[in-house]
Assembly symmetry: C2
Homo-oligomer: 186 residues x 2
């Protein structure tokens, strides 16, 4: 038992250290050195690697709370708004998160095309998928678009330079939302 609680503590310490390291560098994903995380967390590299086989696994864990909150925000928004309005509200929330923690976008992107972190990502995919399906059923969203398409486009957010974030994030979201509307029948 002692060893198991050690393992849990190590894991937590690693995640916490990574979070701290990321916020020091303002969430620049590529700047997270696994060597440095292991050292700062006071564990061997092997331990870090055992808990998180890839940097993405670690990132997914670091941003797990944020992602969960985003996923859980979908249902209430859908209950209160028409689908596309709910999507807009949800994206505003995402942009708000991402302004403070740019890494959230990287976590979303990273998890988007990997089956690894299936739990987290499938839930995001499902939540976004539900939004889109409701929108399609209501005729507010064009056919033939799925959550993966939207995640691909939202990846644009993670490549906006810091200094231009406020200006461009709004534009990107507006373009995506309006792009999702059914094309005019003309």
């Amino acid at each position: 038992m002692a060893s198991r609680s050690d393992a849990v503590a190590n894991r937590d310490r690693i995640v916490e250290t990574a979070r701290a390291e990321l916020s020091r560098s303002n969430g620049a994903i590529a700047d997270l050195k696994l060597h440095a995380v292991a050292k700062a967390a006071g564990v061997g590299q092997g331990t870090l690697y055992r808990h998180f086989p890839t940097r993405e696994h670690l990132l997914a864990e670091v941003y797990r709370h944020e992602l969960t909150q985003l996923v859980e925000a979908v249902a209430p928004l859908l209950a209160e708004h028409p689908p596309l309005a709910a999507l807009t509200a949800w994206l505003d929330r995402l942009v708000g998160y991402a302004r403070v923690k740019r890494g959230v976008m990287a976590a979303i992107e990273a998890s988007a095309w990997q089956d690894l972190y299936a739990d987290q990502h499938h839930r995001l995919d499902e939540a976004l998928g539900t939004l889109l399906e409701r929108g399609q059923a209501a005729g507010e969203v064009r056919e033939g678009v799925d959550a993966a398409d939207v995640i691909l486009l939202l990846g644009a957010l993670s490549r906006i330079p810091e200094a231009e974030w406020d200006r461009r994030a709004i534009t990107v979201v507006a373009l995506v939302v309006d792009g999702l509307r059914p094309p005019a029948a003309g």
Copy 2:
């Protein structure tokens, strides 16, 4: 003179080797090893580095022709079509290129936010910018969008998994084009 022509030959050989290497790995940017390129090109690493200070510089050179063709395609399209139709045609062309050489998208993305390769990229930025401005003047494109916004969104193309390219590239382009239309005044 002899040494200068050697330098030119070396440079060409490097670019040619990189192009070959990239097409072997189907344009997977990250798989391009500079060490390997130098070796295969028969030059020292220092020579490669002297000609191309970063991997992006090398990529920009490898895809220079393609980018030039894309840039030069804009004016004729604008002469023949209304702005948004011209943009659509241009994007179709881009997608056609990218299907064969996925690296073109990477080159566009890479050059998008760096001043380094100013010549190539500024021209792309300008060409796209002209398209958008014409569209805005004609009331076909919403205000407040610039070429950088569009390039950011088109980055989605470079992250489409090979197997899904045909399906998703069309969707992405359609979403971007329709997103660019002026929002309904309601």
